[in-house]
């Protein structure tokens, strides 16, 4: 009986103490006609050895392609120490830190996490994490609606240069509450939002909030200062959606424009979460301090104990579902604690200089690819400055090119035709610090061959 410690003697004594003959008797309140039969969809048990062998085979089955895709999930080196410590039993198998006295490890770590995230984003407060970047954006939209009482409508401007999966997620989560996400076009030449298009939304209370991605889905840098100032001028809540790694070099949302933004969200994946086919990652959310009571999710604060000794507790719980129930700021309960644990250790180990080097190397590698591709006529689809990801325009449909590259063992990019027919000859390519100059050369040669074929 895997994971069951009971001996036959234990069972006998326990049944006797309860006063029943068989364990089965303990289920006598369940109507007999509802009782389940054999679970045919579950195979017979495997030992741990068999399970690990099976999963090793599955993990190795498809080989490992040299990856040049970003598009929302970024391959970075994670120090070996990070997950070795994060998976220590005391972090791995602890619950949400409701009993503060027995959870100071997790609580202090989250406090440190909040401090790091506010530092990185240039904001005043951070929560303890949300599920992922996409759903964090949805929560930010809901929060903006709660915050902006001046708005007459529940409309939020979302640029089409934002990751389309994030936009879809946000829509799916907020639309039942009557909130409308309004498409904002990007400039076909630059690949970023032209602030001039905002002129249509300047009427008092016309929109609740504006979402600004940085870098945007195409890797292009938005004119964040202008957009932020527009929002501030028109009483619109500004939600920044950022890749936190890039903030090592990019101006933090707290410093955008004259006033900085109201809310920052993003996906913490680039800060210590392995690609892992899409998760678990974590969403982060930072905001101005004045907005803290409208924030969803857990928040840790420093507190003083009965001996006057400092420590940490979950605070502002009155916002949450287990207290406020149907009036809570969100239904969120469990968040992404273990990934936050890893990410906090990751950020501590990398530090400001390490993070900057990773960001610079990713920037430089992607720009090297751009230069090398230009030698045979492949050029960026957009003229806007990009960071560590670029949309390349190919002389033909991208699908077949990417398949040819996969045959070389290379994931050549994300097929932008998946999001828009007019981009079906474009691929989104990312070369992080994990790529050597040999890797870049392999990429360029593979692309050249695929195009020549």
């Amino acid at each position: 009986m895997p994971f069951i410690p009971h001996t036959e003697t234990d069972v006998r004594e326990m049944l006797a103490a309860i006063g029943v003959d068989r364990t089965e008797d303990l289920f006598d309140e369940i109507p007999a006609r509802l009782r389940a039969g054999e679970l045919e969809g579950v195979p017979p048990a495997l030992s741990e050895m068999e399970t690990l062998r099976l999963m090793r085979e599955r993990a190795a089955q498809d080989g490992a392609l040299l990856n040049f895709i970003g598009a929302g999930a970024y391959e970075h080196h994670i120090p070996a120490a990070v997950w070795e410590i994060a998976t220590r039993g005391e972090f791995y198998s602890a619950y949400t830190p409701y009993q503060a006295e027995a959870s100071q490890g997790t609580l202090q770590l989250i406090y440190e996490y909040q401090s790091m995230m506010t530092g990185l984003t240039g904001m005043e407060v951070s929560n303890a994490s949300l599920y992922d970047g996409a759903s964090a954006l949805a929560e930010a939209v809901l929060m903006a609606v709660r915050l902006n009482r001046r708005a007459k409508t529940r409309r939020v401007l979302v640029p089409r240069s934002l990751n389309p999966a994030w936009r879809a997620t946000a829509h799916n989560i907020v639309h039942n509450q009557g909130i409308e996400l309004v498409d904002l076009p990007y400039d076909a030449a630059t690949g970023r939002v032209d602030p001039a298009v905002l002129a249509d939304y300047e009427e008092e209370g016309a929109v609740t909030a504006l979402v600004v991605p940085q870098p945007n889905f195409f890797g292009v840098l938005e004119e964040v200062d202008t957009l932020s100032d527009w929002a501030a001028r028109h009483g619109v809540i500004l939600i920044a959606a950022v890749n936190p790694l890039t903030l090592a070099l990019l101006k933090p949302p707290g410093e955008w424009g004259e006033t900085g933004v109201d809310i920052v969200v993003g996906d913490g994946q680039p800060l210590g979460a392995p690609l892992s086919f899409g998760g678990p990652y974590y969403g982060f959310m930072c905001a101005r301090k004045q907005h803290v009571r409208q924030m969803p999710g857990r928040i840790v604060g420093r507190a003083i104990d009965a001996d006057g000794k400092p420590g940490f507790v979950l605070t502002l719980q009155a916002r949450e579902q287990h207290i406020r129930r149907s009036k809570a700021t969100s239904n969120i309960c469990t968040n992404q604690g273990l990934v936050v644990t890893a990410s906090t250790i990751h950020m501590a180990i990398l530090g400001p200089e390490g993070l900057a080097r990773v960001a610079s190397a990713s920037y430089a590698n992607t720009h090297t690819l751009i230069e090398r591709a230009a030698t045979f006529g492949v050029r960026p689809a957009f003229t806007g400055d990009c960071f560590h990801e670029v949309a390349l325009r190919l002389p033909r449909r991208a699908g077949a090119v990417l398949e040819a590259m996969a045959a070389d063992g290379i994931l050549g990019g994300y097929d932008l035709g998946r999001i828009s027919p007019e981009l079906d000859d474009a691929i989104l390519v990312c070369a992080t610090e994990t790529k050597t100059s040999d890797d870049l050369e392999l990429y360029i040669e593979s692309l050249r061959r695929a195009l020549a074929a």
Binding site: P2, F3, V11, L26, F27, I30, G41, A45, E50, T51, M55, A59, Q61, I69, A73, A81, I85, R88, S93, A94, Y95, E101, A102, S103, L109, S115, G119, L120, E124, D132, S135, A168, T169, N176, Q177, K251, P252, S276, F277, G279, P280, Y281, V300, L316, H322, R324, S330, N331, Q336, G337, L338, A348, L350, G351, P352, E353, S360, D385, L411, E433
Partner: protein, 483 residues
């Protein structure tokens, strides 16, 4: 000491970033950061030592008995972790074409199939990233179903008053009004009240069965009939699925949609608060509405079904397909338990809970539903103790920490005064349950002679009790460099 207090300007873990600086000089000035990030500058050893020592301040399943009601704090197999941490899985980009992700997709497909089997549902989507997101998906599907039928006037979700707070919060997020249904004295839903509440405005009902009171809802078949007859659907909150795993299936009870907490029932780690995984299962009627992606098998190959494949889907709830690493751990766990192990989970969880309940009753404590079978958990009320000695459920909880036990859930369910919700789980040994009874009895004795001492507990933790009111008033939510 905070990690920031170990920092010195210029200190680095130099092996962990590119050794040479790359130039990002082409980055236009207007985009550049000018302020400090505020990240700590520490050595690798300092970081390792700091977080290793921090970890030791936690109670956890791996170090302590952790009978936290409604949380299913059972052993998280290390084999599941090893399986999910294989390089081949960790390195897989989520946009890898299906053709190059067959090993991963095979695991996820089989997980869907196994979950269908244990729940008796027709379809499963793995994508929700936590129980609460699973709840959201479930209620959103109910709404999508009614909308698709043009039955849009349904505006209410029924929720028993014993439910978790996530239930009403979720209904609100889906744009529904919440109507609470009272619980009768025996812990079951008040059927009369239910009948009165149901009507053409009823979109559905959210039920946790066994309920948060630790008892099985005996009228479930009747409830299903009443709600279905009114045109509503039944939502099953899987928080307590561990209690009945393989014994009785939500699908067979008449539920149309369920969420499972894989981090409870299938023993993926709680991780100090996630990541969880809240897979949803649906019956026939809701199949078209499942959130994407879903894994399909077609001619022996696996494929992700996306929005275009499932036009009526409520869509995606995350950028990719949810907490895949958690799903892999659940998959490994289910393979190790196997068909025959599923029922054992329910049996031994129930055996442990009933034994612990009886032992505590015999030690003089009051069970809130003494006339009922305990399921995998049960409620003790300390109302009498609090009245006699002033020592409350919270005081018991804190004092238990000194005895080396994590506290049970306190003050939930809200219906029972001064309550402890106790869930021992199936992976704890009899002698640990016995030791817990001893500790409870010892605290009771202490309460009679030294109530003040007990009310001051804990004493053996890194901290004494905190002033939480002051912490919420004088918010200190981050460290900042001085000056």
């Amino acid at each position: 000491m905070l990690i920031f207090e170990h920092a010195r300007h210029g200190r680095r873990a130099a092996a962990q970033a590119p050794l040479t600086e790359h130039s990002a000089d082409a980055l236009p000035e207007r985009f550049r950061r000018r302020s400090a990030t505020g990240l700590p500058e520490v050595s690798e050893l300092q970081a390792v030592r700091h977080y290793t020592r921090l970890s030791q301040k936690n109670f956890s399943i791996d170090t302590h008995f952790y009978p936290l009601g409604s949380c299913t704090m059972k052993y998280n197999p290390r084999g599941s972790n090893a399986a999910a941490m294989l390089d081949g899985f960790l390195g897989l980009h989520p946009h890898t074409p299906d053709a190059h992700a067959q090993g991963m997709l095979g695991c996820l497909f089989e997980l869907q199939e196994m979950l269908k089997s244990v729940t008796g549902m027709r379809g499963v989507s793995l994508t929700p990233m936590a129980g609460a997101q699973g709840e959201f998906a479930g209620v959103a599907m109910i709404r999508a179903y009614h909308d698709a039928r043009g039955d849009s006037a349904r505006s209410e979700i029924l929720v028993p008053d014993a439910a978790h707070g996530t239930n009403p919060a979720t209904a609100t997020m889906c744009g529904y009004a919440v109507r609470e249904i009272p619980t009768s004295d025996d812990g079951d839903v008040d059927m009369q009240a239910l009948r009165e509440a149901v009507g053409p405005q009823t979109a559905g009902i959210m039920l946790t069965n066994p309920s948060t009171l630790g008892v099985f809802e005996r009228h479930i078949h009747e409830i299903a009939g009443i709600v279905h007859e009114a045109g509503g659907l039944l939502y099953y909150d899987g928080a307590n699925l561990n209690a009945i795993l393989g014994k009785v299936r939500p699908g067979d009870m008449g539920f149309d949609v369920i969420h499972m907490n894989l981090h409870k029932t299938f023993s993926t780690p709680h991780g100090g608060g996630g990541p969880g995984a809240g897979a949803v299962g649906v019956g026939e009627r809701l199949l078209p509405f499942m959130p994407v992606p879903v894994v399909a098998r077609e001619e022996g190959r696996y494929r992700l079904l996306l929005e275009a494949d499932m036009p009526q889907s409520i869509g995606r709830l995350s950028a990719f397909m949810g907490n895949v690493g958690v799903l892999l751990r659940a998959y490994a766990y289910m393979r190790m338990l196997g068909r025959e192990g599923m029922q054992r989970v329910a049996e031994f969880a129930t055996l442990n809970a009933n034994y612990l309940a009886v032992r505590l009753r015999d030690a003089g404590f009051t069970l809130a539903y003494a006339q009922r079978r305990a399921t995998h958990e049960f409620v003790v009320t300390l109302k009498r103790e609090a009245k006699e000695t002033g020592v409350t459920a919270m005081d018991y909880a804190k004092r238990l920490l000194d005895y080396g036990f994590h506290a049970p859930t306190t003050y939930f369910p809200l219906l029972v005064p001064e309550c402890l919700l106790i869930e021992p789980t199936e992976t704890e040994a009899k002698e640990d349950l016995d030791a817990f009874v001893e500790a409870m009895a010892a605290i009771r004795r202490e309460s009679q002679d030294e109530a003040g001492m007990v009310k001051g507990a804990p004493y053996r933790m890194p901290n004494r009790r905190f002033d939480e009111v002051r912490a919420a008033r004088e918010l200190d939510l981050r460290w900042q460099a001085e000056g």
